[in-house]
Amino acid sequence: MDTLTQRFPEIADGEPLADGTADIGDRDTGKTLMQREREIARRYMGDVPWFAVFWGLGNLAIWLALWPLVLFGYLPLWAAFPVATLNVILCYLPSHEAQHDIIGRAGTRWRWLNELVGHLSTIPLVLPYRAAKLTHLEHHRHTNHPERDPDYTMRADSPLHMIWVSLKNRQPRSNRGLRGYRDALVRIGRPDAALDGLLYQFAFYGILCGAAWAGFGIEALLLWWLPRHIGTAYIQFFLSWAPHHPGTRQGRYRNTRAWRSALGNIGSMGMQYHIVHHLHPTIPLTRTPAAYRELRPILEARGCRLENL
């Protein structure tokens, strides 16, 4: 069994094809579609995705460097603000690779690096690794389930509506979006991970207030507070909303889609191929486009939503 079926035992062979017939196998090779799909997917798994490692740690280093550069007058704040915003937007995906143990599985040589990248890369986003990992795996297990998918509350009717939903979900008494992660963690019996979120928030606001009273309030506002809000909306737009929209269907081949983003593959942070990630979460992000192109005939046979891609 591959890692996917080990982690998600509910995923099994035998799902019907798009035309309603059973996946009984190819007449010449004797292999089922599921076997062919797994063979292709396996070719893209394995090896440490060093790009994600350097991306995660380098991105954090750049964001950290902005602070002394701005505070000591080497870089104007107006120039640092867009860089900081980009840093926050880019900080999630390396941790996402770690959440799926792509950099190093438990018991392997690079496990420490996996956990290091997972913990450090999302600091600008103020998102603790344990909480992110547990809720994200829950999202994979129950994608588009109204009660069990922690990201279900990111559903919206249109792109503009989604930005509004993202903002509303971040309000103090909301229990949706990121603020609903606590309930999800309690539900799965991990309230200890919810405490991480509380500590991160306390540290974040403590640093903001400390900086403000030390005379660096605008710097804190434009290097962290505002970039974090913009970055959160951007990440939720392309990771939670767009790949699952309209988020009404469940099932291995129905709960996400491939689509062509107006911002391209880089602008959408590789999420055009999110369907590959949901089917085979241990394929590194940078290999999902190639995996998608090879898997496409199988996905078509499965009746997946492949929209202009």
Partner: protein, 69 residues
């Protein structure tokens, strides 16, 4: 006990943000823009009025932006 303090701080987060972050930032922004607050208020006092009012509203309604959370 420390967890109780964290939860207390989290519960009163909007009010604390309004009183501890918005006032000094407002004062800094007013200084950069060289704007004088109305009614003879100092920049910091203007920040406390703005942050205190907005923070109290967010604490009461559960949202900084809307009437309902």
């Amino acid at each position: 006990m420390p967890i109780a303090i964290l939860k207390w701080g989290f519960y009163f987060g909007p009010l604390l943000f309004g009183l501890l972050f918005i006032p000094p930032v407002t004062a800094q922004i007013l200084a950069v823009l060289q704007w004088a607050p109305p009614f003879g208020l100092t920049p910091l006092a203007a920040g406390f009025v703005l942050g205190g009012t907005w923070g109290l509203y967010a604490q009461w309604r559960g949202s900084w932006l809307t009437w309902t959370p």
